[in-house]
Symmetry: C2
Subunit: 113 residues, 2 copies
Amino acid sequence: MGNDSWSKTEKQAARRAFDLAYRRECEAISGEVRRQAAAIIGPDDLWGLHNFLTQQRKETDEKYDYRYSQLEIVFARLVVDGWLQLDELAGLAKEKLNRIGAIVGWAAERDEG
Amino acid sequence: MGNDSWSKTEKQAARRAFDLAYRRECEAISGEVRRQAAAIIGPDDLWGLHNFLTQQRKETDEKYDYRYSQLEIVFARLVVDGWLQLDELAGLAKEKLNRIGAIVGWAAERDEG
C-alpha cells in the first residue's frame, strides 16, 4: 500500500479531501468546546476544557498525517469515522480507491462481527 | 518577608483570600474562553484557543503559589492586578498586612513614575 506514485491531479484531490475532513472534525471539536465553555462553573471545568483541547490536538495531529505513504490508511480511517464520504475521494486513481474501499469494508465487517 | 509564623486563623484567612482571587481570575479567563470559542471560524482559531489556555494555565500555576514563604508577595501581586482588595486580607497579622501594603504602594508608585 502507498507504493504507487501520486499524479498532480491526485495530489490536488487528496489535499482537498484531507482539508475537508480536517475542517469538519475541527468544527465538531469547536462545537464541543463551545458547549463545555458555556458550562464552566469553576476552575476545574476551565482546566478540564484545556485537558480536552490538549487531547484533541494530540489526536488530530497524529491522525491527519499527510505523508503520501500514509494517506490511504488515513483516508480509510476518516471514512470509517464519518469525516469523509468515499465519493469525496474522486480524483484518486482507481487502485488507490479500491484499496481504501477494501480497508473501509474490512473495518465495517469487524464492527458487525 | 515571610519569616513570621502563620497562626491557624491567619492560615484560614489566607486560604479564603487566595481561593477567592483564584476563582475570580479563573472566571475572567472563562469569560475570554467563551468569547474566543464563540468566534471560532476555522482550525487556526480552535488551536489558538488551546494555546491561550495553555498559556493561562502556566501563568496561573506559577502565580498562585501557596507556600507561606511566598504568600505575602503573591497577595501583593493579586491586589496590584485587581484580583483582591486589601481589606479582603483581613485576618492576617498587622505586620504581614503592612508589608503587603508596602509592596502594593511601591508598585503603584512605579506605575505612576
